[in-house]
């Protein structure tokens, strides 16, 4: 028997699933007592190079409200050619194509190693990928130039048959027609006017005027494609055109008076983008990519007025209810996000500015549609450039690591119900018997739309054991959960991936040790953190902290508590939104890094070693490499810094020093290569201003308050009033033993 550790790892590798408990308490009461719910992190598109998709349709349970997919857990009667659904126990005959089925001739989906299986199905014509660039032109020339180049570069990364479109905006919103020769043509919308989807489509000429000329009706599909062709063209056809167009992209020509912000019609631009796609390619995978260099300042979705003397809202303003545009803007973007999600289009936000850009209001665009959010200081930074490039990375098959229009459906065996999901998804409001009334995250449904997926997209799923205490589960019974993910592969195929897992039931009273042993603290920490973040989005910060404090999660909670996911102090609303956005979609490893940054120490005394994220780790003769997911900090201790300044690394006899300096750089490079979004890379040293990034993360075990460590060579003191881990733990212990609540 393998250890739980191995079991967990194996499950994760095979199915992309990690459960907080790998033995499930057999009744509701017991489950509740465990505090941490039965829940899991699920990575729907976990890369499985070893998993060849099968080229046929899945076999479904014939019960109307079940429709579970045939899987290895089903009981099969090979003679009768009948299988029993393991969720509803319906007995289903095999379809004719399975006539040859037998003990020795089993279809893949019945083999245990295919607990996760992918089907390629033929439904309708293959839909092209669509990329709609929505570009802010209220940028500094330098930024705009960088952005132009990035966009031009991105064209070469797109598959030739992908459709591209371009919308630019500033004071006005321009939808560029791409098919025209000679004159560059664009449709212009006023940046201040809320337009319905129908109006937008009419104005773009996507409606066929009826004879009476009164009301347009949508074009027939083929006409719509033809009409939309003006705006969305295959890359191979408009490559040159679009490159020129981007090259000629001018800064917004409207003068910006002194003391004003440029007028930026982000809200309308997105509305037009959504309307355009809605009218032309509903239910087809598409990415709207918003590039913005500042906050929306006019029209629907405006976040701040154009008066520079009025700063953009801060947490302080929000708490004081002083953010006058917040609610309206949020509502606008939420509406857009929902419309977009319904049609399976995702929206990315690439916001590069020194000040806030309104991510707080706009975050839902990406959060609900599976889009990316990337935040940077300028488009002219490698952070943006490389991150953007990484959006288009390809897998071993040469396909984009992205999928579109995903629908995730969950089926559970009777003892379980699904409470909800937390991740880049929206509810499809699909009621089924396995939906719990108790919502956690986005609940009340058994289906979610995940408009854009990539191999690392991970959702947290929360379940509830509904089995009553007095209705024990038969010994040896297993609970099962099936994840059915339908999506559009980046090669335009429609695919369905089915993952079916099962866990044993355990009686909490008799098998408490087993259950304890099956606890996966890492995933539990992340799952609880997601719950915390989800609540933080909707509740006041301190309440969430208190709630968290009441949950007993070991070390992680200390850092989580201090993390920007929950703490808004020192973070702008935009930053908070940004961090939370990423936190709720990254896989376990990344999530853990976010919660508790990793600190490596490099020295002459041995190979690099992970050290405690503690101020005591900051020593003069060490180089530290900290990875917080969003930042990558290389910190040179005092002595090292002096050596470096003296230029020893240039001297042949100090080759080892040079190597020492190089080591963390190489490691950092490795991380930078794979991380999405690119972390902010910081190279600093003792006393450097950027050292704050490190100092703010470490456990303040030595502060100006506990002088006992003062002057010792054990680390660097942190000037903070925050409690150190020591204090926190003491407090925690006290609570754990003293209170029963």
């Amino acid at each position: 028997m393998t250890t739980y550790q191995e079991f967990i790892q194996q499950n994760e590798d095979r199915d992309g699933v990690r459960f907080s408990w790998n033995l499930w308490p057999s009744s509701r009461l017991e489950a509740t007592r465990l505090v941490v719910p039965v829940s899991c992190l699920f990575t729907p598109l976990k890369e499985r190079p070893d998993l060849p998709p099968v080229q046929y349709e899945p076999v479904l349970c014939s019960r109307a409200n079940c429709k579970a997919v045939l899987n290895p857990l089903c009981q099969v009667d090979f003679r009768a050619k009948i299988w029993a659904c393991n969720f509803c126990f319906q007995r289903n005959p095999f379809p004719p194509s399975y006539a040859g089925i037998s003990d020795v001739n089993q279809p893949a989906e019945l083999m245990p190693q295919f607990s996760t299986i992918e089907y390629i199905v033929q439904r309708g014509p293959p839909a092209p990928l669509i990329f709609l660039y929505v570009v802010d032109t209220c940028l500094e020339e330098e930024d705009l130039q960088a952005l132009r180049e990035s966009l031009q570069m991105s064209l070469s990364l797109l598959p030739p048959n992908a459709l591209v479109g371009l919308i630019t905006f500033g004071r006005m919103v321009q939808v560029h027609e791409l098919s025209c020769e000679g004159i560059a043509k664009s449709y212009v919308f006023r940046g201040t006017k809320e337009l319905s989807s129908k109006q937008i489509q009419e104005m773009l000429g996507l409606m066929k005027p009826t004879a009476s000329g009164q009301q347009g009706r949508p074009l027939a599909p083929q006409d719509a494609v033809a009409a939309s062709c003006r705006f969305l063209q295959p890359v191979h056809r408009v490559d040159m055109n679009l490159t020129d167009l981007l090259g000629e992209l001018q800064r917004d020509p409207w003068p910006v008076p002194q003391g004003k912000r440029p007028l930026r019609s982000t809200g309308v631009a997105l509305s037009v983008a959504v309307g355009l796609l809605e009218g032309t390619f509903p239910n087809t995978g598409a990415r709207v990519m918003l590039f913005t260099g500042g906050p929306p300042t006019q029209g629907p979705g405006m976040v701040v007025g154009d008066e520079l003397k009025t700063p953009i809202r801060s947490w302080h303003d929000i708490q004081k209810d002083n953010a006058r545009y917040l609610k309206k803007a949020t509502k606008h973007y939420e509406a857009l996000a929902n419309r977009s999600a319904v049609n399976g289009h995702s929206i990315d936000i690439y916001a590069c500015a020194l000040d806030q850009t309104g991510l707080l209001e706009m975050k839902c665009l990406a959060n609900l549609t599976g889009g990316h959010i990337v935040m940077g200081d300028s488009f002219n930074t490698s952070l943006f450039k490389q991150t953007f490039q990484r959006v288009f990375t390809k897998d071993y098959n040469g396909d984009f690591r992205m999928a579109f229009g995903g629908t995730l459906e969950i089926k559970t065996s009777r003892e379980l119900k699904v409470c909800g999901a937390i991740g880049p998804c929206v509810s499809l409001n699909s009621k089924s018997p396995c939906v719990s009334e108790n919502e956690m995250g986005i609940g009340g449904t058994s289906q979610w739309k995940v408009c854009s997926l990539n191999p690392s997209t991970t959702l947290a799923m929360y379940f509830e054991v509904v089995n009553q205490h007095n209705a024990p589960i038969p010994q040896g019974g297993r609970g099962a959960i099936q994840f059915v993910t339908q999506y559009q592969h980046s090669n335009t195929q429609k695919r369905i991936r089915v993952t079916t897992i099962a866990r044993n039931w355990a009686d909490a009273q008799s098998q408490i040790q087993h259950i304890e042993g099956s606890f996966d603290q890492e995933v539990a920490a992340v799952l609880m953190a997601r719950l915390g973040v989800f609540r933080a989005e909707s509740e006041e910060g301190p309440d969430v902290l208190r709630w968290l404090d009441r949950q007993l999660i070991r070390l992680f909670m200390f850092h989580l508590r201090r993390s920007p996911f929950l703490q808004v102090f020192n973070n702008s609303p935009d930053e908070s939104s940004y961090y939370r956005h990423h936190f709720v979609r990254q896989d376990l490893t990344q999530s853990l890094i976010m919660i508790q940054p990793i600190l490596y120490s490099y020295s002459f005394y041995g190979p690099p070693e992970p050290v405690l994220l503690d101020s005591s780790s900051i020593l003069p003769d060490r180089i530290l490499l900290m990875d917080t997911f969003f930042q990558l900090v290389i910190y040179h201790g005092e002595t090292i810094a002096q050596w470096r300044k003296a230029g020893y690394q240039e001297m042949a006899e100090y080759e080892n020093f040079k190597q020492l300096l190089q080591a963390p750089l190489d490691d950092a490079q490795e991380i930078l290569q794979t991380r999405f979004p690119m972390p902010r890379y910081i190279d600093t040293e003792h006393g450097g201003s950027q050292a704050r990034f490190l100092l703010s993360k470490v456990n303040p075990s030595q502060t100006h308050n506990n002088l006992y460590a003062w002057g010792q060579e054990t680390g660097a003191p942190i000037l903070t009033d925050d409690v150190s881990l020591q204090v926190f733990m003491d407090h925690l212990k006290k609570l754990a033993v003293s209170s029963s609540a």
């Binding site: 004159i183 043509k185 664009s186 006023r190 109006q199 009419e202 104005m203 001018q250 020509p253």
Partner: protein, 1229 residues
């Protein structure tokens, strides 16, 4: 027939006329061809030259040839002097005729006297004229010496030159004479006339003058005198009292005329009365006085003439002699012509006067008689006096008092009276024909007879006032520059070429008034019903020989103004207290003179620097405005032009889009600028549209233009700022690329729907965004039915026409455009609309914005690239290039007693005083009506100051000031003597065309007729001498009122034919609203030129707009200001056709041609020159239509023969005159 008008012209030719006249008659009866044929002959002969003529004339001079001689003369001098002679010549025949007429008229006796007088006068006149002519001639000759005569004749051809030259000098001299004039009290009036006469004659006369009356005055007399005459005249005129007496006589004269009308009205147009009095008083003295002096010469002349004279008898003799003289002096004729004009000039009043007697007669006579008159008197003492008296008075009148002259006229007429009514008609006819067919001189008498007969049966069209006659008379008398220094002086008619010298009042090119002598009280004004209005064309283009208004800069404080009424510094400000203060001429308020403007006064109380400062010595000038006069207290940005082109299916298919784009490429180099050496600062922008709008970014840094489509037409905005309005030179490459691509881009369009309101909004928003004023050029094809603000529906409903609801069709369909116009005006956004409709587009609604913003509408119905391209492009070119001001506000200030109460034109008014014009170009005219709010004083007259604040095309803020002073009178007769019918018609048409918005057209027509009847009745009742009710008496200067009024009533707007679309009517209605007098005149009474002969630089004399005047053998050119027709008679001579069309066959003429083939013959060249010059005169290009007689297109052409019955039921001139007469009689009874 035709001749009447011509007659006058002919009359000058006088001599020839007789000949012609006869021929003409013959033609009438028989065939035109004949006459024409002869014509050609003569014509050719003429042109060739004086030389040939010389010989011909030679004979005439000799006298024996009288008849023949006259003809030649006529040809030569035609219009000018000869009137006298012609009459003379005609006179003989006329008598007979006239008599018949008279009979027709009221009383034989009456007629006799009057007519006789007139006609008699004519004879006398003729004699007089002879004398006059003689004088002139004689004078001419004299100088040359007896022998000189002959030589002169030979020289005649050259004469023209001499004349022209001569006159000017005379004028210059004139001033001096003035003083002298006064010296001659008795003759004053006379002198004046003589002077005027002289003026005309000057060249030749000068000597005479000197010798004669002028003697005292300057010999020049003639020329010189005229001017002085005018000046002096006033006084003399004032002597006016005399006139009354003359009038008395006049009445009789008129009566006779009336007698003619018996059946119908007579026009003893007002003149008679007036003239009569004038005559009586005036005549005698003047005649004597003035004539006397001249008389001598005449006498001498007579002497010479006598030879010729003998044959014709006295009168004829006189005439002949007259003619003779001219002949002898070939040049003289021209001079004579001028003189005649002068005569007439002096006569102008007289001219009016003449009408008094018989419009026609007058017409005829005026020219001829006028001159002849004087001579006549000499010859025939009795009549002459009258005549002379008349003339002088007229002159006086012209200057100040018409009365004097009128009497004189009357006199003359009376003298000729016999001729008068009867004669005139015949006479005119003959002349006309003569002109037409100089050669066809067949038998004058014979021709006369038929005419007479005609007259008996019905009113002879030749017997009623002829516009042509009046026009020609005025031309003849206006040889000297018109100086504006004298208050209340009526300028020459719009049809006359004259030079203006600004001496303190605005040039008539800027302001024309309906009356130059306003009634002092509102009661008088009400009684007379004569509208008091000024037609103002603030930015009128001046001919190159006149100085444009000077620009005055009063420094930072801005223009100096009256403290109370805010009138601007002008010549009417009276400086007092040594120059420290000035008293406002308008409100009498006293204002301090700012220190920097202080100047000492001279002993007359004038500022020493008076003549150094335009604002103190001129009628028109400009001030540089300061920032206080700018919107938002910010100096304006240079204006912008935005071209908005419809690219819907129809627009593309008709070729309009490609034509516009092609043209714009070159046209953009001709944007208006003030300094021709500097590039225009006007920026340009481009928009195309159908159901949506396409803006273009043509920024110079772009390699290709960018198109920005705005589909949100419900809420228009400008999608870009930088790169939309650009400097042409900087963005030339991009613009050209754009203009090349537009036609291609939309070549395959299938979009048929268009919007319109958003198009204007787009332009407006663009100007707003650029914070400048400017002009939109919209090229539009169809009714805007697409869903958008300002959407329209087809409401053309023929059933409504003629009903009370008809007015609704002229009103805008929706209120949207009204409020849009308001916004446009606020921004200084002027909209010019070029329409290319294939069906109803609702001009009434689409035109709201252009009309309210000072823009223009051009309409090219069924536009076809091939045939309409030229017209459209010329209109466009002119429109783009013409001088234009933006964001203008006009205000008219008046002296206490009257005020501006109503305004007509293309503008917007947000209050009752300020006329706001988003754009104001050099063709736009604003008509202002005045009403009394108090009494006016005769001493101070009435002052008005029109101030226009505008932004020039270079972006400079300026104030243009026009000042105008008119006299005030307490006698209605003075009012009637100083009216300008053309201007009155301009006002009436605008008033009526606006009224159709609120009243049924029938009501409008009726009230127009009613008002005119009241005007004329008031005159008849208060100014004319008592006479039979059956007699129609018209004021001299309003004798054309009926004919013109009829034209207004028959216009498409007020009386549409079945084929006239609602759009056309709305279009015309809006077009008229901003027309100046020149354009409205030719619009209502088209110019119809016979083209059988084209000689020298002079235009052929026009004929009246009646089918009867057209000869089957001829070719005619008709011009309305909007249309140009070339009518080809079915029997036109081959030679003519070859010359014009290059084909001898009538049937081979292509009726679809829009330009004449370029043929290398003098005739073709000259004809094309004429056509080009006509086009150059009008603000809109006239497409040439070739109309072959009996062709379908002739229907259209006939529509413009406004003296005839119209297809839509409009009355003929004759019928309408009868109707008017009836109305007047009803009012009187």
């Amino acid at each position: 027939m035709n001749v009447n008008q011509q007659t006058p012209m002919a009359s000058p030719y006088g001599q020839p006329q007789p000949g012609y006249g006869q021929p003409s008659y013959a033609p009438l009866g028989g065939g035109y061809p004949a006459p024409y044929a002869p014509y050609n002959g003569p014509a050719s002969a003429y042109q060739p030259g004086a030389p040939p003529q010389g010989p011909a004339r030679g004979p005439p001079t000799s006298g024996p040839p009288p008849v023949s001689a006259p003809q030649p003369y006529s040809q030569y001098s035609q219009g000018d002097m000869q009137n006298g002679p012609p009459t003379m010549t005609q006179a003989p025949p006329r008598p007979a005729v006239s008599q018949p007429y008279n009979p027709g008229g009221v009383n034989l006796s009456g007629p006799h006297p009057s007519y006789p007088q007139q006609y008699g006068a004519p004879p006398t006149m003729q004699q007089v004229t002879n004398q006059m002519t003689g004088m002139q001639i004689t004078s001419g000759p004299p100088t040359p010496a007896g022998p000189g005569y002959v030589p002169p004749h030979s020289s005649q051809p050259p004469i023209n030159a001499p004349y022209s030259a001569a006159p000017p000098p005379s004028y210059t001299q004139a001033p001096p004479p003035a003083p002298s004039a006064p010296t001659q009290p008795p003759p004053p009036s006379e002198p004046a006339p003589p002077q005027q006469y002289y003026g005309g004659p000057p060249p030749s006369q000068q000597p005479f003058a000197s010798s004669a009356p002028p003697t005292s005055q300057q010999p020049f007399t003639s020329s010189a005198p005229p001017p002085p005459a005018q000046q002096t005249f006033p006084p003399s005129s004032f002597s006016g009292p005399v006139p009354p007496p003359s009038q008395a006589p006049a009445p009789p004269m008129s009566q006779p005329q009336q007698s003619f009308p018996p059946t119908q009205p007579h026009f003893s147009s007002a003149p008679p009365p007036v003239s009569q009095p004038a005559y009586t008083s005036g005549p005698p003295p003047p005649a004597q006085g003035s004539f006397p002096p001249r008389a001598p010469p005449p006498s001498s002349q007579p002497g010479p003439f006598p030879p010729s004279g003998p044959p014709p008898t006295s009168a004829p003799a006189g005439q002949y002699p007259g003619p003779m003289p001219p002949q002898p002096q070939p040049q003289p004729p021209p001079p004579s012509a001028q003189p005649s004009p002068y005569h007439s000039g002096p006569p102008p009043p007289r001219a009016q006067m003449p009408p008094t007697s018989m419009a026609q007669t007058n017409h005829l006579p005026p020219g001829p008689q006028g001159p002849p008159g004087p001579p006549g008197p000499l010859q025939q003492p009795p009549p002459q006096p009258g005549m002379q008296g008349g003339y002088p008075p007229q002159q006086n009148g012209a200057f100040g008092q018409v009365r004097g002259p009128q009497p004189g006229y009357a006199g003359p007429y009376p003298g000729q009276s016999n001729y008068g009514a009867p004669a005139p008609a015949p006479a005119p006819a003959p002349p006309a024909q003569k002109r037409l067919d100089p050669d066809a001189i067949p038998s004058p008498q014979a021709s006369d007879l038929p005419a007479v007969q005609k007259s008996r049966h019905r009113i002879d069209p030749d017997a009623i006032p002829s516009p042509i006659q009046v026009i020609e008379d005025d031309k003849a008398k206006s040889t000297e520059p018109f100086t504006t220094g004298v208050r209340g002086q009526a300028p020459p008619l719009v049809t006359t070429n004259f030079q203006v010298k600004d001496q303190g009042n605005a040039s008539p090119r800027f302001i024309r008034c309906t009356a130059y002598n306003m009634p002092c009280t509102s009661d008088m004004a009400k009684q007379s019903q004569v509208p008091l209005a000024a037609v103002i064309k603030p930015l009128a283009t001046l001919p190159p020989d006149e100085t444009p208004p000077y620009l005055v800069d009063h420094g930072e404080g801005g223009p100096i103004r009256c403290n109370r009424c805010k009138a601007y510094m002008c010549p009417y400000m009276q400086f007092i207290e040594g120059g420290r203060r000035f008293q406002c001429g308008f409100c009498s308020c006293v204002t301090e003179v700012p220190p920097h403007y202080f100047q000492h006064l001279d002993h007359t109380g004038k500022r020493v620097d008076c003549y150094d400062r335009p604002e103190l010595s001129l009628g028109s000038y400009e001030f540089l405005a300061t920032v206080d006069y700018c919107k938002n207290n910010k100096l304006p940005q240079p204006p912008a032009f935005i071209f908005l082109i419809d690219v819907s299916y129809n627009a593309v298919k008709s070729g309009m889009v490609s034509i516009v784009c092609q043209e714009l490429k070159t046209l953009l180099d001709y944007l208006p600028r003030e300094n021709p050496d500097v590039d225009s600062v006007v920026r340009v922008g481009f928009v195309t549209y159908n159901k949506v709008l396409h803006f273009y970014n043509v920024k110079s840094s772009l390699a290709q233009p960018q198109m920005l489509v705005v589909s949100d037409v419900s809420d228009m905005f400008v999608p870009l700022l930088d790169g939309f309005l650009v400097n042409v030179n900087e963005s030339r490459m991009v613009i050209e690329s754009l203009l090349d691509q537009i036609p291609e881009m939309f070549a395959d369009t299938r979009e048929t729907e268009t919007v319109f309101g958003p198009v204007i909004q787009a332009g407006l928003e663009a100007l707003k965004a650029a914070d400048c004023a400017g002009k939109l050029f919209i090229f539009h094809t169809s009714l805007p039915i697409a869903e958008a603000p300002g959407k329209l529906k087809n409401r053309e409903d023929k059933k409504l026409i003629g009903t009370d609801k008809e007015k609704s069709l002229f009103q805008p369909q929706v209120g949207f455009y009204g409020s849009l116009a308001k916004e446009c005006v606020a921004q200084g956004c002027c909209v010019d609309l070029f329409l290319f409709p294939n069906q109803y587009v609702d001009v009434a609604t689409l035109g709201v914005v252009p009309v309210s913003t000072g823009g223009s509408i051009y309409k090219y119905t069924y536009f076809q690239a091939q045939t309409d391209r030229e017209r459209f492009l010329n209109d466009l070119r002119r429109n783009v290039q013409k001088k234009v001001g933006f964001d203008a506000v006009m205000r008219v200030r008046t002296s206490t007693g009257i005020r501006a109460t109503d305004f007509f034109g293309s503008f917007y008014m947000s209050n009752t005083t300020d006329v706001e014009l988003a754009g104001l170009d050099c063709d736009k005219t604003i008509t202002v009506e005045f009403r009394h709010d108090d009494k006016l004083s005769e001493e101070t007259g009435a002052l008005m100051q029109c101030a226009v604040l505008y932004t020039s095309c270079s972006g400079q803020r300026r104030l243009r000031i026009h000042n105008m002073a008119v006299n005030c009178c307490s006698q209605l007769a003075d009012l009637y003597r100083n009216c300008e019918t053309d201007t009155i018609i301009n006002f009436f048409s605008k008033y009526a065309f606006r009224s159709v918005l609120t009243s049924p057209t029938k009501t409008v027509r009726d009230s127009l007729v009613n008002q005119c009847a009241q005007i004329l009745a008031c005159y008849r009742k208060n100014c004319a001498s008592p006479s039979s009710a059956g007699q129609l008496i018209l004021p001299e200067c309003m004798k054309l009122l009926p004919v013109y009024l009829n034209c207004v009533l028959k216009s498409d707007v007020l009386l549409p034919g079945a084929d006239v679309s609602l759009d056309d009517r709305a279009y015309l209605r809006q077009l008229i609203s901003c027309m100046d007098v020149t354009e409205s005149h030719v619009f209502f009474y088209p110019r119809l030129l016979p083209l059988m002969k084209l000689e020298g630089d002079a235009l052929p004399v026009a004929v009246r707009d009646s089918e009867e005047r057209l000869s089957k053998g001829g070719v005619y050119l008709l011009e309305t200001g909007l249309h140009l027709f070339l009518w080809v008679g079915a029997n036109a001579q081959q030679e003519l056709l070859i010359n014009v069309f290059g084909t001898p066959s009538f049937s081979q003429i292509d009726p679809n041609m829009t330009s004449l083939p370029v043929l290398d013959n003098p005739f073709s060249q000259r004809l094309r020159e004429i056509i080009d010059s006509f086009r150059a005169q009008r603000s809109r290009y006239m497409k040439l239509m070739v109309v072959k007689q009996e062709d379908k297109a002739e229907l259209i052409f006939r529509h413009f023969l406004v003296e005839d019955k119209s297809a839509s039921g409009g009355a003929s001139y004759v019928d309408f005159l009868c109707h008017m007469h009836k109305e007047i009689r009803q009012l009187l009874s």
